[in-house]
Amino acid sequence: MANYTEDDLAKELKDQEYKFGFVSDIDTDTIPIGLNEDIVRLISSKKEEPQWMLDYRLNALAIWSTMNEPSWAHVKYKKPDFQSIAYYSAPKQTKKYESWDDVDPEMKATMTKLGISMEEQQRLTGVAVDFVMDSVSVATSFKEKLGELGIIFCSFSDAVQNHPELVKKYMGSVVPTQDNYYATLNAAVFTDGSFCYIPKGVRCPMELSTYFRINAGGTGQFERTLVIADEGSYVSYLEGCTAPQRDENQLHAAVVELIALENAEIKYSTVQNWYPGDKNGLGGIFNFVTKRGVCEKNAKISWTQVETGSAVTWKYPSCILKGDNSVGEFYSVAVTNNYQQADTGTKMIHLGKNTKSTIISKGISAGKSQNSYRGLVQIHKNAHNARNFSQCDSLLMSSECGAHTFPYIECKNNSAKIEHEATTSKIGEDQLFYCKQRGISEEKAIGLIVNGYCKEVLNQLPMEFAVEAQKLLTISLEGSVG
């Protein structure tokens, strides 16, 4: 982070409109719009899936058709028309990519624009990247090197073909098919995503990273991520999201399942920067995501998220602390500006003894946006000596925005200790004055103060992501005061 200076930031700021708003001119293979059994069969056949996978999808579709879209979240939006979405869109390709060299140059250009040039990544940072554009995973780097350690890092489709036993065993084990409206929809129509397996006792030597991008218009993205950390293993996983600027609302309904077996640790970081819509609230991504992990004995799952994008966000990365002594963490920064709405938080379900959870949530609302923290801390009867600490702070940047806190604390064990604190306040006038008296402009002062406010969360991110996140925070709040 030391290399990144305020001058770099100033340069970035000149390009303050949503900079990932370009559309790549890539031929896509998009199926007709609509959702029915035939479409699900079509997706499955396009992906040359085995029968069990098709059955899984059809079962999900049948369940979904009996469900109602939830309305409890503190967000207002026009419900998507599920029959007008194309559920499969893939960059056209004649054959599977054998190596990086096979990748379409236009696609490579797209990645470069996103700042994820594979060559660069490979050479400099040693981050293994999976890139998911619209519906399919297009390139996974570092496969061989990881393979030597027995680590499987591939697209979800590849995993269905090559590691069916793992997929069958774990898919839906944390987020069951019938879990909720969007997760069920995802189970029926998911097109690709990332899969990762870390064998027993292996410490993954590099950050694994997936970039998601919605490119084509009129489509949604429904990816699925499955991370399995076998006993005593460790992995740090990064996820980045962008989408082009479009006037329409596009739906992103993903499912992420994490399985941390005994003594394993998974660190999952997200920098979510889906297109938030324009200044008047037109367009933007509906981000309805189900993320959940389960911790076996002594395992640990740590979620870190920096959310600056999406028109509407509905997302609660959660931990089921099933094993004794397991640990769940949730660190979140959610920024909303203009007409953005976010309803996000976490669930910490304490089942095992001596389980521990920490929740640090920083919400920043600007413009006319609405930002809600919604969290559940649940201590079950047998969760002796469970501990939770939650701190939820909201910062208000305009008189027309809203900041809300809805924590649910449920305790059924008297040896538990739960502490929840929340504060809501305006950005400190005294702090702004102090910065300005030292010659710092208001915009920069806000950037500094907000980044300082979020430090506890940003510190959880791997270095490269932290820099990106800092920039994003500053950019998303441009012009938000005054």
Binding site: Y434, K436, Q437, S441
Partner: protein
């Protein structure tokens, strides 16, 4: 350097400054003394540009520019520095990052290039030694968890880093023990050149034992009622502010 003419300022409709006149030239140190409520801190706030105060009359010329027409940060970039009586804490923002941002904004304003990381760090080392500030404090969050004395020393450290033309020290001596007072004063003295000037706002004269002023002014009821040399401070200390009050009433 700065000429304040007939300055009137009020807060929430209540007049505080009622026709204040003051001229400070380069190379001078002025002390402004006065009882509580005389308007000392208001003067510092008005010069720095706090928006709660309404300027109802008068003008301030700062090196040829109309100071009151400038925004807070423009005043700072023109070389006006306020050492706060109560420096605010900014959690999560490191002193270093804060100062580097400030320094570069000021440099940019002057048309200079940004300072390199290496030069910046050596400047930090040099200037923090001046006020005997532990370099660890420089990397901590701005004022967060600092003791009262550390906060004041940090103010002088920032002053040293930003190299202002006019520094206003607002009750910098309050809450300082004798050692800290000596360190702060020593810092200020070392920063003195014939190009810059300092206004010291204080209730007590003890700081003036360490920083010798060229002029001492007594502020009372929003106006400067008496001016003199450094001896005036001693006389005040001896006779108390009632002496001024009685003189003014008569």
């Amino acid at each position: 350097m700065i000429t304040i003419k007939d300055l009137h300022a009020s807060i929430e409709g209540k007049p505080i400054l009622k026709g204040l006149n003051l001229t400070v030239k380069a190379g001078e140190i002025h002390a402004i003394m006065g009882p509580n409520g005389a308007g000392k801190s208001t003067l510092a706030s008005v010069l720095a540009g706090r928006e709660e105060y309404e300027i109802t009359q008068g003008d301030v010329n700062f090196n040829g520019v109309d100071l009151l027409s400038l925004s807070v940060e423009e005043r700072a970039r023109e070389g006006l520095f306020l050492a706060f009586q109560y420096p605010v804490e900014i959690p999560g923002v490191s002193n270093i990052n804060f100062l580097r941002t400030a320094l570069n904004e000021i440099r940019e304003h002057k048309g200079e290039k940004g300072i390199s990381a290496k030069d910046f760090m050596s400047l930090v080392r040099e200037k923090s030694a001046l006020v005997e500030l532990d370099s660890k404090l420089a990397s901590r969050s701005v004022n967060e968890g600092f003791s009262g004395g550390e906060k004041k020393r940090n103010e002088i450290f920032q002053m040293a880093m930003l190299n202002p033309i006019l520094s206003i020290l607002d009750e910098t001596d309050s809450g300082l023990d004798i050692d800290a007072l000596r360190i702060v004063a020593n810092g200020v003295n070392q920063l003195k050149t014939d190009q810059n000037a300092t206004i010291i706002i204080t209730h007590y004269q003890r700081l003036l034992d360490y920083i010798i002023p060229d002029f001492v002014h007594v502020l009372y009821d929003g106006k400067i009622v008496k001016s003199g040399g450094k001896d005036l401070a001693l006389e005040l200390e001896e006779k108390g502010y009632d002496w001024i009050k009685n003189n003014t009433l008569n």
